[in-house]
Amino acid sequence: LGCFTARNLRRWNISTILLEKEDDVCKGITRANSAIVYAGYDNKPGSMKAEMTVRGNAGMERLCKALDVPFSRCGSLLVTYDKAAAARLERKLQNGIENGVPGLRLMSGAEAEAMEPMLKKGVQAALYAPSTGTVNPWQLGIAAYENAVHNGAEAMLNTLVSDIREAEEGFLVETNKDTFLCKMVFNCAGLCADQVQELLFSPSVRLHLDSAEYLVLDKHARKPECVIFHQAESCGKGITAIPCVEGNLLISGIRKPLETLFATTVKGLQELHLAAKALLPEVDLAQVIRSFGAVRPNPCMENGESLHDFCIENPAPGFYSLIGIKTPGLTCANELGLHLAQKAAAYLNANENPAFDPEHRTIADKDNEIVCQCEQITKAEIVEAIRRGAVTVDGVKRRAGSGMGRCQGSRCTYEIEKLLEEYGHGRV
């Protein structure tokens, strides 16, 4: 979100600096994400979420084209095996129609089973949403970051905000590196957004952290054509199966309160394996190549209730906090960034930036020296990833795609570390 806010601020002549406490961008919520571009039938009609999701979804082709990031509009099926839950699908359909979601359609169980033969038989009803898609979340975020910098935004990494004070004309932001005087502050601190706001203003919502387990399967594993959401018998979502834009199948588990940041639990993995087999009996879990734990902010009001819409706090003129932008934050990232940038343009009375260039080019030039065997990533791509700011093997992975395959980097990590050393960064 920070990356997209910075990118959109540069549509106007607004000097922008992006502060990030980590050594790279998109290392929090974005890094471990379900990668879904939601259709928008889940959200309450009239809410900011509903409106932005539908708009963000509709604009995703254009955004991904400009940022040179692959996007797949694979569609989705929300399936239920419970007759009683079928009424929920009907409600979601009505919601979706009201929100303006295109092409929504209720399906019989037989129709859904024919469409996705991997589904366990006995589907009672399904809601088909052709506009659902998938995108690589960190590719999108890093592209927005690079585009923001290309358009003149400054960025400081390894920079932790320690205090914010009001100044005569704006705010003084203290960090471990330097103090910045700025007219406006956009707090996009993700999992820490409530803490950052608290440095100056008391937030009206608090972030409780949820986690979910994920499994990544080999590209050769059999996978469904579209995203499959399982509407569980009780309220809330079941597991989700996502055919990722890169070709891997991603299976995401049920949300639960967090135990350890970005960690999976023994119980969670066991439950996810069972649930995956129950929904897709033919899924080959011997093809799992990685499991990981994701963290989601869950914004809660003082009475402890979860907030269902986006929360953009504006405690003082010029200060905006995005607190607890949970699902569908990825779908709406550019919309939210644009929304904030428009606020900034009005507040600062800024002129449009005629030189703004929305186009970005992803790493594409290959040479003939294959470093990552599994994904066939070449040395030239790795070196370009380092040139673009990767300082760790993980940073290279998220830019060049190395180490994402079936050996999970066990064969290329050494060579990439050597290239990182050679091109100016030490072993981190």
Partner: protein, 285 residues
């Protein structure tokens, strides 16, 4: 397009032996590394042939290597098609498409990485596969931090346990089966060094971030460690021929056919594959 009678993919024990078996044919042997020998080159321990090291064994194997065979080193085969063409990407020559009449797949196997196992916890630094550590230590002079935990007590796990114990690191092995999994000669390290072996258990969870601090077994034994080696098995590397079926021009040999505990079996299978491929083309020449 360049044409060859036989394309051999993989220059380890199987590929080298296949090339010898196919002597007389126009053969191209491709390997992703800079030298022939495959995994043997990182095996400094003894036990190959008449108690040679893997490196020595590889030298002997390549000693009588047929001169007329074309080598494409530093080369990755990107794809193989059913029309009997292959696309090669080489550091020294760029992209190269070739046509072949027989294909010998000798790509060996790869290790199962931690990600493929149902191990919970964080995703810290300090986790390696056993063969990855063998390569790091023997080819790149890397020294891991102890204590070390090794998951899996098969031959590779035992070989690494011995090597790590030899340099004075504390080693604990965790084995899912009720008893140690490797060959008797490799099990000797368990009596010669103070290596702890926990059987009938596995690693359920790992701890620490950004660096590994320990792991907990499924039965709840907590083991502090700085390095975890995964020696949980090998998978034949056959993705290149995925979807090709079983055409008569395809010969699969060595560890990509099945994992062999002894190199002699790999050599023999490679040789047979070379002979079979040669017979196929001689028949049609």
């Amino acid at each position: 397009m360049e044409e060859f009678d036989i394309l051999i993919i993989g220059g380890g024990a199987a590929g080298i032996s296949a090339a010898k078996g196919a002597k007389g044919a126009r053969v191209l042997l491709a390997d992703r590394k800079a030298a022939l020998g495959g995994v043997l080159l990182q095996c400094t321990h003894r036990g190959f042939g008449k108690n040679k090291s893997g490196v020595e064994y590889a030298v002997d194997l390549t000693d009588a290597f047929p001169q007329e065979i074309s080598l494409a080193l530093n080369t990755t085969v990107l794809s193989v098609s059913e029309d009997k063409t292959a696309l090669l990407s080489g550091k020294d020559f760029g992209l190269r498409e070739i046509r072949f009449s027989q294909l010998i797949l000798a790509t060996g196997c790869r290790e199962i990485p931690m990600g493929a196992l149902p191990i919970a916890g964080t995703r810290p630094k300090g986790v390696y596969t056993a063969g990855q550590m063998q390569e790091l230590m023997n080819l790149h002079s890397f020294m891991p931090d102890g204590p070390v935990v090794i998951l899996g007590s098969g031959d590779l796990g035992l070989i690494m346990a011995r090597q790590l114990a030899e340099v004075g690191l504390s080693v604990t092995m965790v084995e899912k089966k009720p008893q140690c999994g490797g060959m008797a000669k490799n099990q000797r390290c368990l009596t010669e060094y103070p290596i702890r072996l926990i059987c009938d258990d596995t690693i359920g969870e790992i701890h620490g971030y950004p660096h590994l601090t320990g792991c907990t077994t499924a039965k709840g034994v907590r083991i502090p460690c700085r390095t975890l080696l995964i020696a949980a098995g090998l998978r034949p590397e056959r993705e290149l021929i995925f979807g090709l079926g079983e055409p008569d021009w395809l010969h699969i040999c060595g560890n990509c056919n099945m994992v062999h505990p002894m190199v002699e079996a790999v050599v023999n299978e490679g040789k047979q594959a070379g002979i079979a491929a040669y017979k196929n083309i001689r028949g049609s020449l």
